[in-house]
Symmetry: C2
Subunit: 330 residues, 2 copies
Amino acid sequence: MILTVTLNAALDLTYRVPHLVPHASHRVRQVTERPGGKGLNVARVLGALGFRTTVTGFVGGETGRTLRALLAADGDPGSGGGDHGPAAAGSGGGSAAVTDALVEVAGATRRTVGVVDESSGDTTQLNEPGPHISPEEWEGFLAAYRRLLEQGVEAVALCGSLPPGVPVGAYATLVREARTARIPVLLDTSGEPLRRGLAARPDLVKPNADELAGITGTAEPLRAARAAQRRGARAVAASLGADGMLLVTRDGAWSAAVPERLAGNPTGAGDSAVAGLLSGLAEDLPWPERLARAVALSAATVRAPVAGEFDEQTYARMLPSVRVHGAETP
Amino acid sequence: MILTVTLNAALDLTYRVPHLVPHASHRVRQVTERPGGKGLNVARVLGALGFRTTVTGFVGGETGRTLRALLAADGDPGSGGGDHGPAAAGSGGGSAAVTDALVEVAGATRRTVGVVDESSGDTTQLNEPGPHISPEEWEGFLAAYRRLLEQGVEAVALCGSLPPGVPVGAYATLVREARTARIPVLLDTSGEPLRRGLAARPDLVKPNADELAGITGTAEPLRAARAAQRRGARAVAASLGADGMLLVTRDGAWSAAVPERLAGNPTGAGDSAVAGLLSGLAEDLPWPERLARAVALSAATVRAPVAGEFDEQTYARMLPSVRVHGAETP
């Protein structure tokens, strides 16, 4: 199975309002709740693609209860998903349920609120900081993570921000544990946790252009990706928005994009890219194929009517049309 | 005891952000959760004044669980409150716990999110619509409400908006039940529920200037209050913001204000006014004294550091200084 780690999981709320006016009072027309945090989003995409996926991280409080209930409901046969048994990995066919291996803590899972202004389609995002994690809770998580790594994990993704109380070197620790267990590990975070995580030599990091510039001081993507590689990552996949993705490995460098500019909502496109890369890592596909999956899934997410989900038909149509070509050292 | 009804109770969240920018992403610096909805706010003020108060209305889901836990914690001796035993009503001394007589429903209690922009101090408010109430749930509530009215209720307040599914004439029904039980009843709502409720002849309604103009078509407060009275209310107390309050009864008309303009946050000032009026109704004080309490509590709420709470020292200082004088028919 594939394992995703979301240390700062969230209950994602989406509020639709006719028009957002600062300092005014609004009646919310529609409320949507779903499990959130990058690793949970990645797992949902992997599940939809038919991969057996397990999620871990911290969960707590009444918001955590709601998150777990929604996660379980996602896997209900009644909701079009599969069951908890093995699914045909990579079949692209039936979806597989996501297994919940989240670890309970005393604090409450944070909420995020996305306020969609229906007049413009734009979203204003409000993210709670997350529960305080005690040193004992962090040690408890580490033990649970080590046990999971012994259960036939094909690849692991470490995703998102750290909640208060978790050591800033947390991802470096988790990368080392995965490498010790000889499991391919992808890191998708930013700032100091990314900087520290790089030094532990993850197999792949997936920064966006801003995150990459933030840790390398270089705005030119290829130069910055090479700099991130020198800091410890075996490979760097940078998401460049509408310009697709850039991949730098020890074997070469490639860039990839879809042949058409797609209008839509980019929320979750980065998480879908991680799902594409991770599935390719788990199946040991050649790098250009991993990149093509990531780019096609990103595009299919931008085109989906619901933020953060991907459109399966767009994915099937895009995958063969992604243009992957060698990137030259600048 | 005093009974307050909040059919659309809420879990009130307050988010503090350094500066709210529409369509941007924000890290919330501080999250506060508390029981919300007008009737619950009124009960909290009454409890702080030492009145035994019971709250009812609908509650459900994980948000409802959190609301009930917070309500119970409010009454903990450790948090400075009293206990569930009788308290010296009207003593103005020690606070009394609020008794939870909320009725469970299948849907989840709504959230409201108040986003405080720390750069300006202004608040942007987002209110969820509330759970759908089934006809059976409404009937179940009516039965519970009738039982409560038999338990020594001195006054009842019916507060706030109606959740989806509740008949628009709900407050009219609840007013009639209270009048049949010979219990003084105050109605604080707006729009069609207020219009219908008026016809059932509540003892007192407390619209603000906008709500009053909305149902009477008259912007001049005294004229509008008289019009609302003709529609069925025995008395009308209109809150006029910084201009204080106007009260029209069968015995006369008064206006009242504090002698100084107070800067602060008006959130909850209307609910504190309801608490003042209701406590006076329960104790059968003369109308000018009820009005003075309402105005002093409103002012003490505007001056409190936390939105919706009242400053006890300001209340003690303001109460004797409120100027009540007869209002002339225009």
